[in-house]
Symmetry: C2
Subunit: 302 residues, 2 copies
Amino acid sequence: MEIALLGTGGMLPLKNRFLTSCYIEHEGKAVLIDCGEGTQVAAAKAQIKISRINVILITHTHADHITGLPGLLLSISNTDRTEPLDIYAPKTALNMIDALLTIAGRLPFEVRVNTLDIKNETSQQLKTIDPMLELRSLPLKHTTVCLGYSLTLRHKRVFLPEKADELGVPLRERKTLHNGESITVDGREITPEMVTSDPRPPQKLTYVTDTLPIGQIAAFAESSDLFICEGMYGDPEKKKSMNEKGHMLMQDACSLAVKADVKELWLTHYSPAEPDPSVYKDKLRRIFPKVRISKDGRKTTL
Amino acid sequence: MEIALLGTGGMLPLKNRFLTSCYIEHEGKAVLIDCGEGTQVAAAKAQIKISRINVILITHTHADHITGLPGLLLSISNTDRTEPLDIYAPKTALNMIDALLTIAGRLPFEVRVNTLDIKNETSQQLKTIDPMLELRSLPLKHTTVCLGYSLTLRHKRVFLPEKADELGVPLRERKTLHNGESITVDGREITPEMVTSDPRPPQKLTYVTDTLPIGQIAAFAESSDLFICEGMYGDPEKKKSMNEKGHMLMQDACSLAVKADVKELWLTHYSPAEPDPSVYKDKLRRIFPKVRISKDGRKTTL
């Protein structure tokens, strides 16, 4: 999975900070999480290919997370894309998404809106990206219904051609075995396990923003290779105001990262009133050493 | 009138070019024309005060002219503004504007949507800005209903205190005279003309984008101090494609400026495929010498 955090701002787009949005590409197809005003510009700046976006996940209906949708869809329609595009969102977002699709007008590809359970953690396969890609969503605690998302990419078992040679498996049957089905060779059953080794461990990305630091997030993000989480402010004096507004501090995100035992934490969704979040780096590293004070366009490959 | 052309792009926002939008301030109150994705960021970059916007004029419902509306209104609501805000738009834009206002949610000030005639040139006073400010709109010819706008600021006659002294006009009566009403002093009628001189000539700004270069534009823009007009491309080979798409070339805008006898022309709404419109400067000046190949944030005072 190639990850690009297109923007790191919360509430409103700044001249030097785009709104929080994350692009996840796998085998030439991509998922976008959140799409605030200017996300298509942030995407162009990060040099990612919007035509590859097959799935858009919307966390909630606040403007800083969704109003870029019509512009992005129209710009995608200027590429040669014809395959359908799936939007996943809390079911309470349907009216807003309908309004935004009205503004986008007629598009040259189908847009399918899928709603997600807002009461319980749920999971489903993202087949339009990869049959091995699993999406999970977690209801968060914000001033409106909001979901956290987690993407897990499972890998196939690794095919071992030398084992297949030993067992005399014809070339044309090997794909069947690699896809997990047994075959019969000269009356003898060959199982996938006989010609494959254990797969690489799965990769997991968790994206959580616009929420109080509720305990369920730690379980949801458990063992993530990358945990992208909001940190509106670094000043502990803002804690009370964050509680009232349904947000968390950078310190809260670090504590969740410790509990979830993630490999790396990227902070995002900084307040417009926090001009340089990097001043908190040393303090935050004392809570969780692998914290990154992300800037717009930060990329990695899991 | 203070004018700031916040962006100069058409169709989609680029990383180095905001979408076309114009801010016009007079006596601490302002009109904004068009509000595409990112206009609030362009406004911040141009250091204009969005809290002063009392009127928003929408030319048409294509995304590059309206999707910035919810974000802008939400950002205005973060200022201390409480006065109502008037939106003027073609009546065909009502559904879209409703959708955008749904996305903005509940605002701490009233938003009044006023619709304009889409068949004929019409005019009305912009009383929430200045009783002397007149708005006119002209139906253009695009792929959807689209209006051109013109703002004319008329000035009061200039009060001459020495004339008032000569005629023995008491101080408390002078405002009445300046406001255009006659008074009686010692049984003698004093008319406003007796204590004022002719006003400064009116100032006129005309804003026209997303249209074929129809002849009516010349009459509509006649004698403008500033004519802001689209010029999608500078290459005459694009003329056929512009005809099909309901747009014009930079050359067309210059020819309209000549016919309208305007003082100055600012080009805008460049195609994303036109990376450096300034390369046409010399050719365009041969058609209309006072043409400016505007860049984002261009300002002037009329």
